[in-house]
């Protein structure tokens, strides 16, 4: 597995996701946002968390139109894997690689806490190390994570099984309390039509080592590196 992490001005989780990928056995290189191509042999393009361009205009709006995103778009069109975490998910939505938009959290607060997620399917390149319905303990840290799309888009995502993760409680129930940012249908992450692009607000890269507090995020990187 060769992963290319695209770094934008204001990205700040590129180091953590690189570490998580290397722990899972992937080879990792970083790509600057002005680069017009991904390195030859790239299997996975990663858009890390952070505050690209200071979240100016809208979160991910300017990064979504960066030169490197044309290369990511081509990579995705060829069936290459793309993972966007947090700001990376916002960038994927702004770039048109995923539908919908991440709006301001419903309670207007920046939220930063441990978060249980329900894994909606385990038959994708991102989740094969998990079980369907498994509840994993990861983290969230965002001010704009409130997933919104028009009703047709939501029903298409649901009908095609493109919801990757949902905010849940420890028992896997989709409660209002577990869905702190107010996302429609408790959506925490979604796939593209061909399941090769995943965008998610939570941070699996935070929990890959017991010393830090949890290891439930490992499964995602191990699935990718498998």
């Amino acid at each position: 597995m060769r992963a290319a992490i695209v770094v934008f001005p204001g990205s700040n989780r590129d180091g953590d996701v690189a570490r998580a990928l290397r722990l899972a056995g992937a080879e990792v290189v970083k790509v600057w946002h002005t680069d017009t191509a991904l390195p030859a042999g790239t299997d996975l393009a990663v858009l890390p968390g952070g505050f690209s361009y200071g979240d100016y205009l809208r979160c991910g709006a300017i990064a979504g139109r960066a030169a490197a995103m044309d290369a990511v778009r081509d990579h995705a069109a060829r069936g290459g894997l793309v993972l966007g975490i947090c700001n990376g998910f916002q960038i994927l939505c702004e770039s048109g690689l995923l539908p919908g938009v991440l709006m301001r959290n419903v309670d207007r607060r920046f939220i930063c806490h441990r978060q249980m997620l329900r894994v909606e399917r385990a038959d994708t390149r991102f989740t094969s190390a998990y079980a369907k319905g498994q509840v994993i303990d990861v983290c969230v840290a965002h001010g704009e994570g409130n997933y919104f799309a028009d009703p047709e888009t939501i029903s298409r995502l649901e009908g095609e099984g493109r919801v990757a993760f949902r905010y849940a409680d420890a028992a896997g129930e989709l409660t209002v309390d577990a869905n702190r940012n107010g996302s429609l249908n408790s959506i925490a992450g979604i796939y593209s039509e061909k399941l090769n692009v995943l965008g998610m607000m939570p941070h699996p890269e935070n929990f890959v080592e017991g010393l830090i507090g949890g290891v439930d995020g490992r499964g995602l990187f191990e699935s990718l590196a498998a």
Binding site: A61, E94, R108, F148, A149
Partner: protein, 79 residues
């Protein structure tokens, strides 16, 4: 030539910031306000002096970057 672009949230899209402003206005004793929706204004200077081609440039600026048409509408005023 100068233009003003106004970007607003589409009807039905939740606007937590607008709600917060609405609540703040009411807490400051400003009564009678029944709703607030927050938007953005861009004042743009354009080299082109032909209104039709200026409008075309601004439309592509809105579609490509200034508005997210999933949740936002935009209006262009040539001033």
């Amino acid at each position: 030539m100068k233009a003003r672009i106004i970007v607003t949230l589409k009807t039905g899209v939740l606007d937590p910031q607008g709600k917060a402003i609405e609540a703040a206005l009411s807490s400051f004793g400003i009564s009678g306000i029944e709703g607030v929706r927050q938007g953005k204004v861009f004042d743009v200077e354009i080299a082109d002096t032909d209104p039709a081609s200026a409008e075309a440039i601004l439309k592509s600026a809105c579609e490509k970057l200034l508005a997210n048409t999933v949740v936002e509408n935009y209006e262009i005023e040539i001033v």
